[in-house]
């Protein structure tokens, strides 16, 4: 929870209002919703992008149906942390946008264009008094003619491109590890190993093989592929 001095009390009740030191509290509170979500990771390796996320495992739930990893287009995916319903709404809008782009221009959207659509939609919700910010962050990952990209979009609509980045409840620890261990041009195997090691450290569920979801988009075919449960089990 962001530090809150008594004299700030009250600044956070109306939407889209600055506090005296230039902060948008509603946006910061929305980021708290992100920090409570399970961890998601985006990772650029030599030959593509890895997207990984952990689903809340609950007995009797069908984990495959908890959407935290979204296929947006053939060559672009996204992982989210935060409010599941907000994530679903935004991902659906991105899918529609990507399809419209294919139909209108007869070519696929590049990763940054798609991330901007997402960031603009999220920023919009921080400006108008009648709306709340989205309580979710995304890591958009994909491969286009300019290479492999992982782009973070947070509730303020800010976009950062990362080589390796984690969002959600394990992000502090995960990003510390990435800063220590990440190397440029890692091969897929060591990249996957590092991602798995990080997740094991920050998400200590009994049944990680069921909770974990991983997608790889390789430069050679620019197609998002989901790892099978078996493939994931082997990696653990």
């Amino acid at each position: 929870m962001p530090q809150m001095l008594p004299e700030y009390m009250g600044y956070d009740r109306t939407i889209a209002v600055f506090s005296p030191d230039g902060r948008l509290f509603q946006v910061e509170y929305a980021k708290e919703a992100v920090k409570k979500g399970t961890t998601s990771i985006g990772f650029v390796f030599a030959d593509g992008v890895i997207l990984a996320t952990v689903r809340q495992t609950m007995k009797l739930v069908v984990p495959e149906t908890i959407e935290k990893l979204f296929k947006i287009d053939e060559h672009i995916g996204a992982v989210s942390s935060g409010l599941l319903a907000d994530a679903r709404i935004l991902a659906d809008q991105l899918r529609v946008k990507a399809q419209i782009n294919r139909i209108t221009y007869e070519e696929a959207m590049d990763v940054w264009s798609l991330a901007k659509v997402l960031g603009d939609r999220m920023q919009f919700s921080t400006v108008y008094a009648g709306l709340r910010p989205f309580g979710v962050a995304f890591l958009v990952g994909g491969v286009d003619s300019t290479g492999a990209h992982v782009i973070e979009a947070d509730p303020s609509g800010t976009l950062y491109e990362w080589k390796a980045y984690a969002i959600g409840r394990g992000s502090t620890v995960a990003n510390k590890i990435f800063r220590d261990k990440y190397k440029d041009d890692m091969d897929e195997k060591s990249a996957l190993k590092l991602v798995i090691d990080v997740i094991k450290k920050v998400e200590k569920t009994d049944n990680l093989s069921r909770a974990l979801e991983i997608a790889i988009i390789r430069k050679k075919d620019k197609k998002l592929k989901l790892l099978t449960d078996e493939a994931i089990r082997k990696l653990l």
Copy 2:
């Protein structure tokens, strides 16, 4: 009731606003309305889906007319807990949507598509300052070409698919039993027995045979069938 520290007082008065720790209070309060409703259950067995709900029994009321179990389409039903009027409004919108889909695409909607319509409508009400969230949750159950599904939609618009799940005032006890006793691929008879046992435990009304409503959608014909009063009496 969600725990409420004094310093949070006031965050819950305006709609669609985050609290400092990233919660949407109005949505959580709407969930309290769900917890006060009578219990509803969705259950996947080997050959289909069981939906069960308990109607508030009051002397002289015509129990059949208390809508807690809704037939949405031939192959999809829904049970609800929470505000009855909110449930009716949403169920009517789903029925219309399912019919439009049949007319437009000349095929029936699959269960997840319909659940998303419901979840999107509910999420929408958590975003705009001039609306309150819906005070109701649903378990949408049905059979389509991908199999049998039970999907929960709560006031935040979040969707979870469950093998067996209960909502409403008996949900805590009911879900504990399901976690202990549920087995994959139970036959219809043992599935019904388990559902009935759970309901007997959590809804101790004198006249359960009148209060209870059960629908089965079997994979073989994909048609929602309501159990007759007699059939229910035999099960009890």
Copy 3:
């Protein structure tokens, strides 16, 4: 008046907002307006439906013009308790709806369809921040091809079908008597006697013959008939 703990103070000032325990206070307050209104009764007997209501008797007022019993269509009526102006507005909307249905589909609306129009309109007013709920409840009574029905619509928009039910200031006592004395398939005479006995008990006005208004819709002709003053006097 609903019980109100100090910590809830304030939740009731803005419209369409949930309290921490999942209640819609504005709707509950609107129900208090209903409880202050004079008593109205709906009653199903073997051969039809009785609707009865008591008008506030004031000297020099023309009691026939106090609209608490509304003829909605040939075969459907409604009695109300609560704010008279709200009742008039809603009844007029129902009459228009019933006529439109006759013109569009060339057949009369059934009782439940009409009650849903009423419930949906009332629920709508509980959702939007710029509107107050309606401060009135109705008992819609009528006979259609499915039989005789009495359906209650309260300020939340919830609908219950009853065999016998009372709303308004005498409802607690009246409904207790109905629970004790109501029998299925009573004949018209004993039904009227029970209704009259109940009203005498809960509305002790000097001039009950003027205040009382009774309509009967019999299955045989499906036509709402108002009892004449003389007929009512004989019953008292």
Copy 4:
């Protein structure tokens, strides 16, 4: 002023909101504006309707121009108590409505239809959060094919038909006298005498002959006639 317990403080600041005991305070406050206005009277006698009102007499004002008695149509008038500007606006809307009815249906509106137009407009202002109620009440009086009618419309939009009724600052005393002295089928002379006696009692202005305005609509010709100043002077 309506009784106001401390715990109710605050319920009255936003418009169109119920208090915990089901009252619409803004509407009750608007009724206080009515009680401050000078007295107006509507009275049904054997052969028609008398409308009487007292204008605030101030030296140098042209009393004829203070509109408290409005001719709405040939056969319908109205007297008001409360905010003069609100009364003028509503009366103008009624006149337009009456003319439109004549043009559209080629017949005059009956008294109750016109009163409902008025009541509906007033009720509307009690429902929406962005409007205040009207601070005025009316007694609509007229003669149509169903006889002579006096209908009260108060700020809530409630309509009551009276044989004799007074609104405004003298209403409590005036209505008490009417309840004692009113007889059905009084002739015009005794009716006028009773109205004048009442007004003399409740409005003790020096110059009552100037302040008083009286209109009679007789059944025989269904035309609103204003009494001349001389006629009024003779009555006093």
Copy 5:
């Protein structure tokens, strides 16, 4: 300033809301703005109407350009007290309305019709929550086929016709004198003398001949004529 008891604190902050005793505070506060303006007078004499107003005299200001006396049409003028900008806006709307009337009906508007346009516009601003009342009052004066008229329009939109009336900071004293001294059918000379005497008493500026503005509309030609500075100087 209107008397204000502590328990009323708070009723005056939102617009278009009644206080418990039926007052519209925002309208009363707007009237305070009127009472702060310099005095304006309307006066009916045997052969027409006098409109007089005093402009705030400030050294170096061009007094002719301070619009407190407005020519609305050939035969109608208006003087105002209160906020100058509000007065200008309303007077411009009246001029347009008067011209449209001439074009549409090929005849000039009568004085009362024009005053009603003004009053309706002002009342409108007291009803909607998003608007403030106008902080200005007018005396509309003119001659039409029904004679000479002076009509007051205050911030509530109420209209009173006066034989002689003053608004603004000198109104209390001025109206007291008018009540003592006014006689029907005064000739122009004595009427002007009385108006001037009153103004001298209530507006003690050094340079009254520059501050004072007087218009006369005579019955014989129905044309608004402004007195020249010289004519005014002679009168003083």
Copy 6:
């Protein structure tokens, strides 16, 4: 800062609301923004109009680009004090209006017509609850067929025509000097000298020749001419 008694606290938080003594606080606070701006002067002399203003001098700023003196049309200019961005927006609207007038009527707008456009726009912002008043005042100066004019428009939208007037932080002192020293029909040289003397007194910047901007519109050609830096330096 306007004097503010404790009991007024609260009246100034919502826009477009009167205080109990008839003041529009938001407008008065906007005038405080004007008083903080650098001084601007409008001055009528025998043969035309002088507009002068002082720009905030800051090292490295390009002073010519600080718009406080606006050419609105060939024959009309304006100087402003207060918020620079508000001044720019309004001046742009005036320029567009002046051009539209030229195109529509094939003649130039006169000075008062243009000032009214400005005043009306500013008044509008004081009426609606969703807008703040403009934090700027203008002196519109120009020459038309009726002569030379300087018209002040303040945040309330009030318009005053002055022979010589100053707005902004030096206005109190400047206007005192003008009241002492201004003479009608001064020639251009003495007029310029007086304006310069006043500015020197109220704006003690080191680099006045750079900060000062002066325009003259002479009656003989009705064209706004800016003094060159050299011309200004000679005058100092």
Copy 7:
């Protein structure tokens, strides 16, 4: 943080409202967001314009993708400090505007016209109650037929043209140095040296060569050129 006396508490919670001393707090708080951003610099030298900015360096982020330096058109760029998402939204609007201008008028926009589009958009957000101000400032730099320009646009929408100016967290120190060291008509080399010296002083990051981004627009070709990483490294 702007100084804040207790009596001002409360003025800052609603948007677009003046404080008693004429300040727009929400705008000042938005400026605090600017002061927290990394430093950006605009600098006019003899032969063109330098735009420099520092990107927040974080390990694993792809610094090139942090947009603080925007190419708006061939000949115009902009650097920003403050909220990144707000900067992106505004820069995209400027690019679209510049393209529309090229298409509509078949010529490039000049620098001031473009800056006004930006300032107007920012001012707009300070006026309406439903919007927050933008939490970002820009230095728009470019070369057009009138020469080289650097124009600051802050959250109020105010525009200043500077010879050399810095915004963001290092602005106080940077601008002090510029005031001491800036000379007119510096050549490109010394200009770049001064800009680099300033940045080194105010942004003490380890990895300045990666964080720093510099663009030059030279008068001779009017084309924005980004310095390569290598070129920047040599300058450091």
